[in-house]
Symmetry: D2
Subunit: 134 residues, 4 copies
């Protein structure tokens, strides 16, 4: 399991005084990218022709999160398939569960004209992601 | 079914050249609030002590959406319960399905100190939402 | 002068109950892009190798803007130079001035590897922008 | 001078492949709030009836910032007046200047019904801010 720590920023709150639910998806994604970096990878490597479009994302919200609170995103790879990656996460403030979420992404090759084509995860990337999520 | 029309704004895109997936949840929520307005309601009425914290949100992404494209959010109330509302939506550009999503919200009463307590949907609000989603 | 109409969305507010100041810059930019569309132009035309990086942006905030309020961005081109465009805008709700802002953008040509090089505004674009801001 | 360190997140970029200019204002504000925390203060203290609405914000953009780049916001209080605070900042990546900005905020007392009234900076707060910006 990979742990990403963060503090709530002012502009992430809404008029209800709590973090807007859409921002929780940003937190999950930030954790994903930090996990990749810890594996020596980048989700948007300028030297690579791979992209990782999202297939799905979902979250259950248990408890609100407020300005300046510190929290953790606990992220793990729940499935590593030939062409897709699935993640599961829990967002936690101290011992309080804020949200539980999941997300899946496809491996895609960028072609000319902005078109993307499904591709297989390269072997080295697969190996690195297996190691980081162990 | 309620239909909300919108155009993609520049800042909603990311370096992959498409709308960031978290923004799709904003589109779903904007449609919800427009549906409420069409029923003569506001999700954040300054004169009301009710709030509508989200319980869950999920989305499947089928096709990318790009800058300046026009799209529709087709939103319906899939369940109207004593204390919760459930929505289902499809985001569509012309005949192309961009995403399918769902979201649920609880009815809560705002108490002193920012605390919220689960509450029942008021009868008049229930009636208005039933009419708009028919 | 070009007028762009909009309604405040929920996620654009912060815990102070008003639109976050950074969002006012998004409103100014949305108006710019709507002005370009009204001139038959796109600020991010996939068929063009031009980009419009911002050189500066500034705003004075006079009055708060709240959820679901409708407002106007009144935008004009204050200077149209060989290599840059300058805008001035007023954001207004009914007769109340919300903010006054300005922004400038450079004309740049996209080269290989994500590099950008200052360029002159094409004659046809100059003509169209002159007409829309008259 | 106060230094705040950060890394660019994916959703902060736009289709031009660089950080959207509006996000630079978020970076400046995050640095402000971190400076307040380092002085033992919160810009949105739940126990205080003070708020800090922005009066103005401006920025000049010198160089683009890209995904995963690390940068610093160097923030200082340029003027500490009876009723307002003025900040100046430089956003820097290694030795490259990304942007120079300024921002001012008013001290306001929150009254009933969401109304705000200009107020004087409390003496203790003034003292703490003087110390942190020295």
């Amino acid at each position: 399991m990979f742990t990403y720590r963060r503090r709530v920023q002012f502009a992430e709150t809404d008029l209800a005084g709590i973090v807007h639910f859409s921002v929780m998806f940003l937190y999950m994604e930030e954790a994903e990218h930090a996990m990749w970096r810890s594996a020596g990878l980048s989700i948007a490597d300028p030297k690579s022709d791979l992209a990782w479009p999202r297939l799905s994302a979902s979250m259950e919200f248990r408890s609100p999160l407020r300005f300046e609170e510190e929290f953790e995103v606990r992220l793990q790879i729940s499935a590593l398939k030939t062409r897709t990656i699935e993640y599961a996460c829990t967002i936690v403030r101290d011992e309080t569960i804020i949200a539980r979420g999941s997300m899946s992404a496809a491996c895609a090759r960028k072609l000319a004209g902005g078109v993307m084509k499904a591709a297989e995860l390269p072997a080295e990337l697969l190996e690195r992601l297996k190691n980081v999520s162990r």
